[in-house]
Symmetry: C2
Subunit: 156 residues, 2 copies
Protein backbone atom coordinates (compact mmCIF):
# COMPACT_ATOMS: atom_id res chain seq x y z
CA UNK A 1 0.00 0.00 0.00
CA UNK A 2 1.20 3.40 -0.88
CA UNK A 3 -1.24 5.37 1.13
CA UNK A 4 -0.19 8.18 3.38
CA UNK A 5 1.50 6.71 6.41
CA UNK A 6 -0.72 6.69 9.43
CA UNK A 7 0.62 7.44 12.87
CA UNK A 8 -2.38 5.93 14.57
CA UNK A 9 -0.59 3.10 16.31
CA UNK A 10 2.58 5.07 16.96
CA UNK A 11 3.77 5.27 20.52
CA UNK A 12 4.78 8.92 20.25
CA UNK A 13 2.12 11.30 21.51
CA UNK A 14 3.20 13.96 19.04
CA UNK A 15 2.69 11.59 16.13
CA UNK A 16 -0.65 10.58 17.57
CA UNK A 17 -1.85 14.14 17.80
CA UNK A 18 -0.62 14.89 14.30
CA UNK A 19 -2.68 11.95 13.13
CA UNK A 20 -5.78 13.77 14.33
CA UNK A 21 -5.07 17.45 13.82
CA UNK A 22 -1.85 17.48 11.85
CA UNK A 23 -3.20 18.33 8.45
CA UNK A 24 -3.41 21.65 6.70
CA UNK A 25 -7.01 22.51 7.50
CA UNK A 26 -8.06 20.91 10.76
CA UNK A 27 -6.40 23.40 13.06
CA UNK A 28 -7.83 26.30 11.10
CA UNK A 29 -11.29 24.81 11.35
CA UNK A 30 -10.77 24.43 15.09
CA UNK A 31 -9.53 27.99 15.31
CA UNK A 32 -12.73 29.24 13.69
CA UNK A 33 -14.77 27.00 15.93
CA UNK A 34 -13.07 28.48 18.99
CA UNK A 35 -14.26 31.86 17.81
CA UNK A 36 -17.81 30.70 17.58
CA UNK A 37 -18.16 29.50 14.01
CA UNK A 38 -20.58 26.60 13.84
CA UNK A 39 -22.15 26.34 10.43
CA UNK A 40 -20.83 24.64 7.33
CA UNK A 41 -21.27 27.70 5.15
CA UNK A 42 -19.66 29.91 7.73
CA UNK A 43 -16.53 27.74 7.86
CA UNK A 44 -16.45 27.59 4.10
CA UNK A 45 -16.79 31.32 3.72
CA UNK A 46 -14.21 32.26 6.35
CA UNK A 47 -11.61 29.73 5.32
CA UNK A 48 -12.19 29.89 1.57
CA UNK A 49 -11.70 26.19 1.18
CA UNK A 50 -13.34 23.74 -1.18
CA UNK A 51 -16.57 22.34 0.11
CA UNK A 52 -15.67 18.73 -0.44
CA UNK A 53 -12.48 19.14 1.57
CA UNK A 54 -14.34 20.92 4.34
CA UNK A 55 -16.91 18.17 4.33
CA UNK A 56 -14.25 15.48 4.67
CA UNK A 57 -12.41 17.38 7.41
CA UNK A 58 -15.52 18.03 9.44
CA UNK A 59 -16.38 14.36 9.27
CA UNK A 60 -12.89 13.37 10.38
CA UNK A 61 -12.96 15.84 13.25
CA UNK A 62 -16.32 14.50 14.36
CA UNK A 63 -14.98 10.94 14.12
CA UNK A 64 -12.05 11.91 16.30
CA UNK A 65 -14.29 13.45 18.92
CA UNK A 66 -13.00 16.96 18.35
CA UNK A 67 -16.24 18.32 16.97
CA UNK A 68 -19.76 17.12 17.55
CA UNK A 69 -22.84 17.70 15.46
CA UNK A 70 -25.81 19.36 17.07
CA UNK A 71 -29.17 20.63 15.89
CA UNK A 72 -28.98 24.23 14.78
CA UNK A 73 -29.45 26.70 17.56
CA UNK A 74 -31.48 29.08 15.38
CA UNK A 75 -34.42 26.69 15.08
CA UNK A 76 -33.77 25.71 11.47
CA UNK A 77 -33.50 22.08 10.48
CA UNK A 78 -29.80 22.34 9.70
CA UNK A 79 -27.05 21.08 11.94
CA UNK A 80 -24.09 22.73 13.57
CA UNK A 81 -20.58 21.68 14.44
CA UNK A 82 -19.54 22.44 17.98
CA UNK A 83 -16.29 21.79 19.78
CA UNK A 84 -16.10 19.05 22.35
CA UNK A 85 -13.88 19.42 25.43
CA UNK A 86 -11.21 17.56 23.47
CA UNK A 87 -11.58 20.14 20.72
CA UNK A 88 -11.33 23.05 23.12
CA UNK A 89 -8.26 21.33 24.56
CA UNK A 90 -6.33 22.23 21.43
CA UNK A 91 -6.20 25.84 22.53
CA UNK A 92 -2.62 25.64 23.85
CA UNK A 93 -1.51 24.15 20.54
CA UNK A 94 -2.98 27.09 18.66
CA UNK A 95 -1.44 29.56 21.09
CA UNK A 96 1.94 27.90 20.72
CA UNK A 97 1.74 28.09 16.94
CA UNK A 98 0.67 31.72 17.11
CA UNK A 99 3.50 32.66 19.45
CA UNK A 100 6.02 30.85 17.32
CA UNK A 101 4.93 32.91 14.33
CA UNK A 102 5.01 36.09 16.35
CA UNK A 103 8.54 35.39 17.50
CA UNK A 104 10.16 33.96 14.41
CA UNK A 105 8.17 34.94 11.34
CA UNK A 106 10.19 36.67 8.67
CA UNK A 107 7.45 39.21 8.05
CA UNK A 108 5.74 39.69 11.40
CA UNK A 109 4.25 42.93 10.16
CA UNK A 110 1.86 40.86 8.07
CA UNK A 111 0.32 39.32 11.16
CA UNK A 112 -3.02 41.00 11.63
CA UNK A 113 -4.00 40.16 15.18
CA UNK A 114 -2.61 39.79 18.65
CA UNK A 115 -3.93 37.63 21.45
CA UNK A 116 -4.81 39.66 24.50
CA UNK A 117 -6.05 39.16 28.01
CA UNK A 118 -9.75 39.94 27.73
CA UNK A 119 -9.92 41.58 31.12
CA UNK A 120 -7.13 44.07 30.54
CA UNK A 121 -6.78 44.15 26.78
CA UNK A 122 -3.04 43.56 27.19
CA UNK A 123 -1.03 40.97 25.24
CA UNK A 124 -0.69 37.61 26.91
CA UNK A 125 2.67 36.30 28.06
CA UNK A 126 4.49 33.48 26.35
CA UNK A 127 3.37 29.97 27.22
CA UNK A 128 5.31 28.70 30.18
CA UNK A 129 6.41 25.17 30.91
CA UNK A 130 7.03 24.59 34.59
CA UNK A 131 8.25 21.81 36.81
CA UNK A 132 6.11 20.51 39.65
CA UNK A 133 7.92 22.86 42.01
CA UNK A 134 7.25 25.82 39.73
CA UNK A 135 10.64 26.23 38.09
CA UNK A 136 10.43 27.50 34.50
CA UNK A 137 11.70 24.86 32.09
CA UNK A 138 13.33 25.15 28.68
CA UNK A 139 13.85 22.29 26.30
CA UNK A 140 17.24 21.48 27.76
CA UNK A 141 15.75 21.17 31.23
CA UNK A 142 13.53 18.33 30.15
CA UNK A 143 13.95 14.75 29.04
CA UNK A 144 11.79 11.82 28.04
CA UNK A 145 11.27 8.85 30.28
CA UNK A 146 9.51 5.59 29.49
CA UNK A 147 5.95 5.73 30.68
CA UNK A 148 5.60 3.80 33.93
CA UNK A 149 3.50 0.69 33.51
CA UNK A 150 0.17 1.31 35.21
CA UNK A 151 -0.09 -0.59 38.45
CA UNK A 152 -2.47 -3.55 38.42
CA UNK A 153 -3.92 -4.92 41.60
CA UNK A 154 -3.53 -8.53 40.42
CA UNK A 155 0.24 -8.41 40.45
CA UNK A 156 0.26 -7.40 44.03
Amino acid sequence: MVKRTSFEGDDCPIARSLEQIGDWWSLLIIREALFGVRRFGEFQGKLGMAKNILSARLRALVDHGILATAPASDGSAYQEYVLTPKGRGTFPVLVALRQWSEEFDDRPEEIATILVDRAKGRPVKKLELRAEDGRLLGQGDTMLKPRPVPRRRSAG
Copy 2:
Protein backbone atom coordinates in the same frame (compact mmCIF):
# COMPACT_ATOMS: atom_id res chain seq x y z
CA MET B 1 -4.15 26.44 -10.50
CA VAL B 2 -5.19 23.46 -8.48
CA LYS B 3 -2.18 23.29 -6.26
CA ARG B 4 -2.39 22.97 -2.53
CA THR B 5 -3.49 26.28 -1.13
CA SER B 6 -0.65 28.22 0.40
CA PHE B 7 -1.08 30.21 3.58
CA GLU B 8 2.06 32.17 2.98
CA GLY B 9 0.45 35.58 2.60
CA ASP B 10 -2.26 34.94 5.14
CA ASP B 11 -2.58 37.41 7.97
CA CYS B 12 -3.28 34.74 10.58
CA PRO B 13 -0.20 33.67 12.50
CA ILE B 14 -1.55 30.17 12.92
CA ALA B 15 -1.95 29.75 9.19
CA ARG B 16 1.53 31.16 8.70
CA SER B 17 3.08 28.68 11.07
CA LEU B 18 1.17 25.82 9.51
CA GLU B 19 2.61 26.89 6.19
CA GLN B 20 6.06 26.16 7.56
CA ILE B 21 5.61 23.24 9.95
CA GLY B 22 2.04 22.14 9.36
CA ASP B 23 2.68 19.03 7.35
CA TRP B 24 2.83 15.45 8.43
CA TRP B 25 6.56 15.07 8.77
CA SER B 26 8.15 18.39 9.62
CA LEU B 27 7.30 18.39 13.30
CA LEU B 28 8.52 14.83 13.68
CA ILE B 29 11.80 15.75 12.02
CA ILE B 30 12.10 18.68 14.40
CA ARG B 31 11.28 16.42 17.33
CA GLU B 32 14.14 14.12 16.38
CA ALA B 33 16.43 17.09 15.88
CA LEU B 34 15.60 18.33 19.37
CA PHE B 35 16.83 15.00 20.67
CA GLY B 36 20.10 15.34 18.88
CA VAL B 37 19.52 13.65 15.55
CA ARG B 38 21.55 15.38 12.85
CA ARG B 39 22.30 13.03 10.00
CA PHE B 40 20.14 12.18 7.02
CA GLY B 41 20.39 8.47 7.54
CA GLU B 42 19.63 8.82 11.20
CA PHE B 43 16.42 10.74 10.50
CA GLN B 44 15.48 8.23 7.87
CA GLY B 45 16.09 5.29 10.12
CA LYS B 46 14.28 6.69 13.15
CA LEU B 47 11.28 8.01 11.29
CA GLY B 48 11.04 5.23 8.74
CA MET B 49 10.08 7.63 6.00
CA ALA B 50 10.88 7.58 2.31
CA LYS B 51 14.19 9.20 1.48
CA ASN B 52 12.80 11.45 -1.23
CA ILE B 53 10.21 12.83 1.16
CA LEU B 54 12.81 13.33 3.85
CA SER B 55 15.03 15.07 1.34
CA ALA B 56 12.25 17.43 0.30
CA ARG B 57 11.26 18.16 3.91
CA LEU B 58 14.82 18.85 5.03
CA ARG B 59 15.24 21.25 2.14
CA ALA B 60 12.02 23.05 2.99
CA LEU B 61 12.98 23.29 6.66
CA VAL B 62 16.35 24.71 5.71
CA ASP B 63 14.66 27.18 3.36
CA HIS B 64 12.41 28.29 6.18
CA GLY B 65 15.31 28.83 8.53
CA ILE B 66 14.27 26.05 10.89
CA LEU B 67 17.23 23.84 10.16
CA ALA B 68 20.67 24.78 8.91
CA THR B 69 23.26 22.63 7.21
CA ALA B 70 26.67 22.32 8.78
CA PRO B 71 29.78 20.25 8.08
CA ALA B 72 29.70 16.96 9.90
CA SER B 73 31.06 17.11 13.40
CA ASP B 74 32.77 13.73 13.10
CA GLY B 75 35.27 14.98 10.54
CA SER B 76 33.75 13.21 7.56
CA ALA B 77 32.92 15.12 4.40
CA TYR B 78 29.18 14.71 4.89
CA GLN B 79 26.88 17.38 6.21
CA GLU B 80 24.54 17.62 9.15
CA TYR B 81 21.23 19.30 9.80
CA VAL B 82 21.09 21.32 12.98
CA LEU B 83 18.26 23.32 14.48
CA THR B 84 18.39 27.08 14.37
CA PRO B 85 16.97 29.17 17.21
CA LYS B 86 13.77 29.37 15.18
CA GLY B 87 13.75 25.60 15.04
CA ARG B 88 14.31 25.23 18.75
CA GLY B 89 11.49 27.73 19.22
CA THR B 90 9.00 25.08 18.16
CA PHE B 91 9.49 23.32 21.47
CA PRO B 92 6.30 24.71 23.04
CA VAL B 93 4.32 23.56 20.02
CA LEU B 94 5.58 20.02 20.46
CA VAL B 95 4.90 20.12 24.17
CA ALA B 96 1.37 21.36 23.53
CA LEU B 97 0.72 18.55 21.06
CA ARG B 98 2.13 16.00 23.47
CA GLN B 99 0.04 17.22 26.36
CA TRP B 100 -3.07 17.27 24.22
CA SER B 101 -2.51 13.61 23.39
CA GLU B 102 -1.82 12.77 26.99
CA GLU B 103 -5.05 14.40 28.09
CA PHE B 104 -7.46 13.41 25.36
CA ASP B 105 -6.13 10.39 23.50
CA ASP B 106 -8.51 7.47 23.38
CA ARG B 107 -5.77 4.99 24.13
CA PRO B 108 -3.31 6.86 26.34
CA GLU B 109 -1.83 3.56 27.47
CA GLU B 110 -0.20 3.31 24.04
CA ILE B 111 1.87 6.42 24.70
CA ALA B 112 5.37 5.24 25.43
CA THR B 113 7.05 8.23 27.00
CA ILE B 114 6.46 11.05 29.42
CA LEU B 115 8.17 14.43 29.50
CA VAL B 116 9.91 15.03 32.79
CA ASP B 117 11.87 17.72 34.52
CA ARG B 118 15.47 16.64 34.03
CA ALA B 119 16.56 17.83 37.44
CA LYS B 120 13.97 15.93 39.42
CA GLY B 121 12.77 13.27 37.03
CA ARG B 122 9.19 14.33 37.75
CA PRO B 123 6.54 14.98 35.07
CA VAL B 124 6.26 18.56 33.92
CA LYS B 125 3.14 20.61 34.53
CA LYS B 126 0.71 21.58 31.84
CA LEU B 127 1.65 24.56 29.72
CA GLU B 128 0.33 27.71 31.27
CA LEU B 129 -0.89 30.83 29.53
CA ARG B 130 -0.70 33.88 31.75
CA ALA B 131 -1.66 37.52 31.61
CA GLU B 132 0.96 40.20 32.12
CA ASP B 133 -0.03 40.35 35.76
CA GLY B 134 0.36 36.61 36.14
CA ARG B 135 -3.25 35.51 36.09
CA LEU B 136 -3.75 32.09 34.52
CA LEU B 137 -5.78 32.38 31.33
CA GLY B 138 -8.10 29.96 29.59
CA GLN B 139 -9.43 30.36 26.08
CA GLY B 140 -12.45 32.29 27.28
CA ASP B 141 -10.25 34.78 29.07
CA THR B 142 -8.61 35.84 25.84
CA MET B 143 -9.60 37.65 22.69
CA LEU B 144 -8.01 38.80 19.47
CA LYS B 145 -7.26 42.43 18.80
CA PRO B 146 -6.05 43.99 15.57
CA ARG B 147 -2.32 44.38 15.66
CA PRO B 148 -1.39 47.99 16.35
CA VAL B 149 0.19 49.64 13.35
CA PRO B 150 3.88 50.11 14.06
CA ARG B 151 4.81 53.74 14.49
CA ARG B 152 6.83 55.23 11.62
CA ARG B 153 8.93 58.31 12.04
CA SER B 154 8.24 59.55 8.50
CA ALA B 155 4.51 59.97 8.99
CA GLY B 156 4.82 61.44 12.44
